[in-house]
Structures are given as C-alpha cells and as structure tokens.
Amino acid sequence: MPKPIEIRTSPHLKRAISVDRIMRNVVFALLPICAFSVFQFGLSALLLLLTTTGVAIATEWFFARTSGRGNTVSDWSVVITGILLALTLPPGFPLWMAAVAAFIGVALGKALFGGLGYNVMNPALVGRAFVQAAFPVAITTWTPAFAPGRFTEVIPSTFTLPFMQPIPVKDWIAGLQLDAWTGATPLALQKFQHIELPVTDVFTGMIAGSAGETSAALILICGLWLASKRMLDWRIPAAVMAGAALTTLPFWLMDASLYPSPWFVLFSGGLMLGAWFMASDMVASPVTTSGVIVYGLFIGSLTVVIRLFGGLVEGIMYAILLANALGPLIMSWTQPRVYGAVGKGRGE
C-alpha cells in the first residue's frame, strides 16, 4: 500500500542553510587566527584558547540543561564565544582568570537572557569587560611575540594558582634578552610616548598585543572569506572602519606628531578583530540595513574617541558593548520603508 501523501504549508522549498552551519563557518574562519596566535605566542596562547572554549562550552551545557532548553552546544555559537574571548586576552593571562571570564561571559552575557538569539550584548565581550574590571593588572600585562622557546615552555603567569595574584613576568622577559622590548603594545606606545610603529608591522601582526588581535591582515582575509559566503554582513566592519578612520582624520591632519594616522588606528589593537568578528555578531547587531551602518559608524567613532581622549588605551570593547545596548533604539529609528508607503522616504 502506498504511503499517504504529505501536507505542509508553503513555501515548500527551503534554502539549504542552518544556524549551526553559519556558526560552524564562523569557527572555521577564526581557526587561522587561532593558529597564528599559537605560532606567535606559543603554548600559553594554546592553553588560553582551550581553557576559554572548554569553560564556555561547559557553562552553556550546564545552563541549557538546568533550564530545560536541551542540548544547545550543538549550535556551535558558544564555541565562537570561547575562541573570541581568548583572542582578546593577553597571551600570558592566568588561566584561572580566563576561566572566570568565560563563565561570566556565557552565564551573564548569554544564558541569563535565554540563550542564543536573546542576548543583548556579545557574550565574549561581557566576559572580557568583567575581567578588565576585576583583574586590571593581569589584563594589561603584555609579553613579547615570538619569544624563543615559546613552544616548549609557558609564560610564567599562565599557571597562576586560582585566586592568587598573577606571577610577575618581568624577570622572565628579562631572561629572554630581547633588545627592543619595552613592555608596551603599539597602542600604548603611540598613546603615551607618541611613537608610531611602522604600519607594515602592525598590519601583518609582528607585534605584541592580545593573543589574537595582532595580525590585521589575517583577520581581514578571514573576515572577507566569511563575508563572501554571506555569513557575515560586510557593511558592519566597513562602517566600523570608516567611522574610526573618519574620526581620526581631522586630529591627525591637525597634529601628526601627537595623534595616530588613520591606518594605524585601523590596524592596531583590537579594532580589526572587533569590527570583523565581534561588532558583526548577528544576534547583538541591528537587523535593519541602514541600522547596521549607524551602528558600525558609532562603534568606530567611539573607539577612536576612547583611544584618543579616554583613560584607556583601547576602546573597541566598550564601544561595541555600548552599541549593542543601543541596538534596539537604532532599529526603531531605521525601520525599512514599506513598498507603496506614501509620503516620507524614497521611491514613488
């Protein structure tokens, strides 16, 4: 006997795409950046990545289970959170603090709101903001890139005992006998001593900084690949970069010895990683076409304002978190003009 025919509602066709596939592709896009980070900072960076990703997954699993939402780890979104968090931390960041950041990010930044799709802010940045406030010393302790022996030994501060102050790295760095090490990232050098590193070094990432934010070139390539697969809205990073460059320009023209050049602003610090992989977080960014432009310009502009005039060296994190919070407001201003609407707007 033939089986009965099926009935569904239209449309009866569906594009072959799903949330887990998008999220998986974001993870793939981040892997080269992770690999470069490990190549640059060695074992410590690897352990940092594993710790944040592992804790993030465990936290997601625990809260999804206790709140009866089933297995939500399989949508892969929490893996992105874990990886992104590690990439924004200093390579020698104590692992126990990284675990705290991952837990807070997923628990307070995501699970509290109801999980994937409901979070207002980017969970990785929520975690990072927490540890920035809680561990101000550790989060600004930088170690040199391409330290000899980085694949055989870890940075001493990595294995700080839980609830202890980070182990000082000064003596360890001195032991490396690097000539040019000043203990500062390119951003700090520029801000406090007005020394601008060559833009090629900053662009390719042959510098110190957070574990995964140093190579602007690599981030750009990975981001463009994701955008070409339509899994990232290129308008957001484009608007962030435009906002940052345009805000810097007048100051740089006024006094180039004091203020950084637009390209230095674009390629230094966390701006690239933030623009391509964190501001573009689908859940926490506006959905309207003109809304994403406003949102991106706001982030880029605010980042520069914080960098130039704030107490902090880097501003992308707070700029994105603030823009995330403004998202619903931006959306209500930028509702699309409906076909055939008479009066205001473009069209007939």
């Binding site: 239209s10 449309p11 569906k14 799903s18 949330v19 799709g117 076909y339 055939g340």
Partner: protein, 448 residues
C-alpha cells in the same frame, strides 16, 4: 544589441530570492492534450467572488463548451462543460483549500470528441469596450496565473480611475512552472489578439509584456511576431522570485509602486497573466467559454513531466497517472508552484481555473526534510529577502509573543502577501510565512 545594453542591469525590484528553478524539466515540452478523465468535477466556486449557479439538472446531457452554470452578479463568472457527457450529480468535492465545496460532476461519454461544438462567431473589430467586458465575463475568464480573479472586473476600473498601461505578466517566477513560457512560444497569435482586446476594453494606450530573462527565447519570439504599429512591447526583467507578483512587476517595469491599501488601477495599471490573455484571444472570436487550461505537471516524483492542456475538473489522480507518478516516492503534491502553492490532502481534488501547475515533490527530497527550528539569530536575511520591505524578524518575534494586533498596526503585517521569501531564507527554519498567515486570520476574526 547595442554595446550600452551590455552594461545595463536587467529591470527589477528590490530584495527577493533566487531559488533553484528546475524549469529544465519541462521548458522544452510542447503543450500536449490528454485523454478525458472518466469523470470531471467542476467546482462552482473556483474564482474570487460569488459562486456560479448551476443551469443543469442531474441526468441532463451536455455538449463540450455548453454553459452549465451562470455568473451570480458582476464579480462572478459562468462555467462551461469541459467535455460531452451527462451530469451525474451536483455534490461536494474536496479542494486544496480544505473545506469541501459544491461541484457539478460530469460523466464523460466514452469516445467523446475533443472538438468544441458550441460556437458563436463574433466580429471582434465591431465590438465596443462594454461588449468586450461582457463577452469576457460570458467566457468565464479569470486570472489564470493563480489569482482566479474575474478578468472582466479588472477591465472596469473604479470611477475616476483611468487605465493607461496594460502589463502582461509572463514572468512565471515560481520554480518548476513553464506553462506561461510555452504559451508565449506556441500561442503568441492568440496572446496578441487578447492584448488588443484588453487594450480596447480598458482604453489603455500601451501594453508591456514582462518576461523573466530566463526566457529570452520568448521575448525574441514575441518581438518578432508583434505586428508593426501596435503599442505593444516585450521587455525582459530579472529572473528573481517573486518577479511575477503584480506589485513587483509594476515596480520593475514602470518604477512605480502601488500605494499601500490600493490597487494597480490607482496608478493607472491593469495586470493580466499571459495565459489569461491567450485564452481571451482564443475564446472571444468564437464566443466560447473557458473549459481547459495549460498546466505544467512537473516535479522529481514524476516519470514524464510536461505541459498539458487539461480540461477543468480533471481529478489530480487521473492527471498524475498520465505522467507516471511514482506512488512510493511522492511526498507532497502541490497545486501551483512550490513557493506559494498549496499541498493537497487528497488526489481527488480537481484541476480548477486557477491551477497553473501540479508539482509532485519526493518524499526523500532533502529540501523538504524537517529541520530543527532555532531561535531567531537576527541574521537579517529575511529583511533582505522581503519584496515589500517588511521586518519579518520582528514580526516573527511578535507572532511568538501573540501580539497580532501590533504586528498589523506598527509593522505593516497586512502588506505581506505570503510569497514565502522570509521562510525560504531563514537559517533558523522559523515558519515565518505560516506565522503571518495565522496572525492575519486571527486579526480578521477579531475585527468581526
């Protein structure tokens, strides 16, 4: 072709989607006739407006082409006997819409001729616009693109409105369907006759045939056969779903928008499907009624898909048997195209005037596999797909929160014409289109 035209982007509308077309299955299959089904079921309400009223009694013999039901009022059309035979019953038949509806059951005589024996010669040139409108109603013509709105009603715009342009819709943007493509290639003489009638009846100054650029052979053919001196042009538009939606095609061709809550007549436009006008050009000179239509029967569950001239009232079971339905493989059987068409619950449903296609999808079709529904991740794909620029993401959230009134008042729910683009692109597999259908129907009930 001038050098300039190489750099010209095809005419189009904003947003929309590019589903796989699957038109190669039937695009080069000429329109064929099939034997009559042993029994036809002709529903009395297969058009928008008042149902027709039967003129025949059970046991009465009818001749192919003879009127069997009359129109009830202006927004209604008559029915004609699609075959020679005897009326077996006037009873309920299943339909795709769900509820059963009254239909005339016609037992077809064996060896009944396909020749139409019911003729009334007319001189088209001598007819006044009013006479054409009346003749179109007498022919039982409705929008054959799927709308099934009585064609003569659109020829009489509301008082004070002037029709300037007749748009002839040959887009056929639904995947699988190719019947309009074949009509443009094979019935162009009747089509041009129909366009001339529509121009005369509406008083419009010009007609534009809009065809998606996946059918450039049809555009070239029409341009070659349109007689010199007639204000009729054939234009290619971008192949993009839902290009064939009235509002989208108007925007693509004229860069004008139908105002919210208004009709094409408000901006001086009347839109007719190519199949409707081809039938008009074929039927009116002989005073005949609509008794058959071209239907694309296609899909992966069929052995011999093709385009067929199908008598109105033919049960799907008979039609599908003619083209080799793989009964063990078939999943859904859809009337119309797979984007907006309706899946039938029974193969006893008859082909009506609105059925442009019958698509049989496979059970194992990966496209149909039930996928996991995730929460909305605000990817904004639906906003970029919606041809009327709604915010389906927001509307979906409101539907889940059951704020149906707010959906209509603040987010223009009533502009949604259920094209299915949002649900098609949604990576979270949220059944947005169905949510909106439900919301609209609840809002309608609330108003009552």
């Amino acid at each position: 072709m001038s050098l300039f035209s190489l750099f010209q982007r095809p005419r189009t509308f904003e947003h929309g989607i590019y589903p796989v077309e699957h038109k190669e299955l039937t695009a080069d299959k000429p329109i064929r006739r099939l034997p009559f089904a042993p029994e036809l079921a002709i529903p009395l309400a297969q058009h928008k407006g008042a149902p027709a009223v039967p003129l025949v009694k059970v046991g009465q013999e009818v001749v192919r082409g003879e009127p069997i039901a009359r129109a009830e009022g202006f927004v209604s059309v008559p029915m004609h006997a699609p075959a020679t035979g005897v009326i077996r019953a006037i009873a309920l038949t299943p339909t795709a819409d769900g509820p059963k509806t009254q239909a005339i059951f016609l037992k077809v005589y064996e060896a009944a001729s396909q020749e139409v024996l019911y003729d009334l010669e007319r001189d088209l040139d001598a007819m006044t616009p009013e006479e054409i409108v009346a003749a179109v109603q007498d022919a039982g013509l409705v929008g054959l693109g799927g709308g099934a709105f009585p064609s003569h009603v659109k020829m009489k715009p509301p008082a004070g409105k002037l029709i300037e342009t007749v748009i002839v819709n040959g887009c056929e943007c639904e995947p699988y369907l190719t019947c309009d493509h074949r009509i443009m290639l094979e019935q162009s003489d009747a089509l041009i006759r129909g366009i001339k009638l529509a121009l005369k009846a509406t008083g419009a100054k010009r007609a534009i045939i809009g065809v998606e650029d996946n059918k450039l052979d049809a555009v070239a053919h029409l341009r070659a056969v349109i007689p010199k001196g007639l204000p009729i042009t054939a234009e290619a538009v971008e192949t993009k779903y839902p290009q064939g939606a009235e509002k989208m095609l108007i925007k693509s061709l004229l860069r004008k928008e139908v105002p919210v809550g208004g009709l094409p007549a408000d901006i001086g436009v009347a839109v007719y499907n190519v199949g409707t006008l081809a039938q008009m050009g074929d039927l009116l000179p002989k005073g005949r009624g609509l008794i058959e239509r071209v239907v694309t029967v296609s899909g992966p569950a069929l052995a011999n898909p093709g385009n067929f001239m199908v008598p109105i009232g033919t049960p799907l079971r008979f039609l599908l048997a003619q083209v080799g339905l793989a009964a063990d493989r078939v999943g859904e059987v859809i009337l119309g195209g797979p984007m907006m068409g309706m899946a039938v619950a029974s193969l006893d449903v008859p082909v009506t005037k609105a059925v442009s296609g019958v698509v049989a999808l496979e059970r194992e079709d990966p496209d149909l596999e039930r996928r996991k529904v995730y929460p909305c991740i605000k990817c904004a794909e639906c906003l970029k797909a919606c041809p009327v620029s709604l915010n389906p993401s927001m509307l979906g959230e409101l539907a889940i929160a059951r704020q149906y009134a707010r959906m209509a008042e603040e987010f223009n729910l009533n502009q949604c014409f259920e094209c299915g683009c949002c649900a098609y692109v949604c990576p979270s597999n949220i059944p947005l289109t169905q949510y909106f259908r439900i919301a609209k129907s609840i809002n309608r009930d609330q108003r009552k």
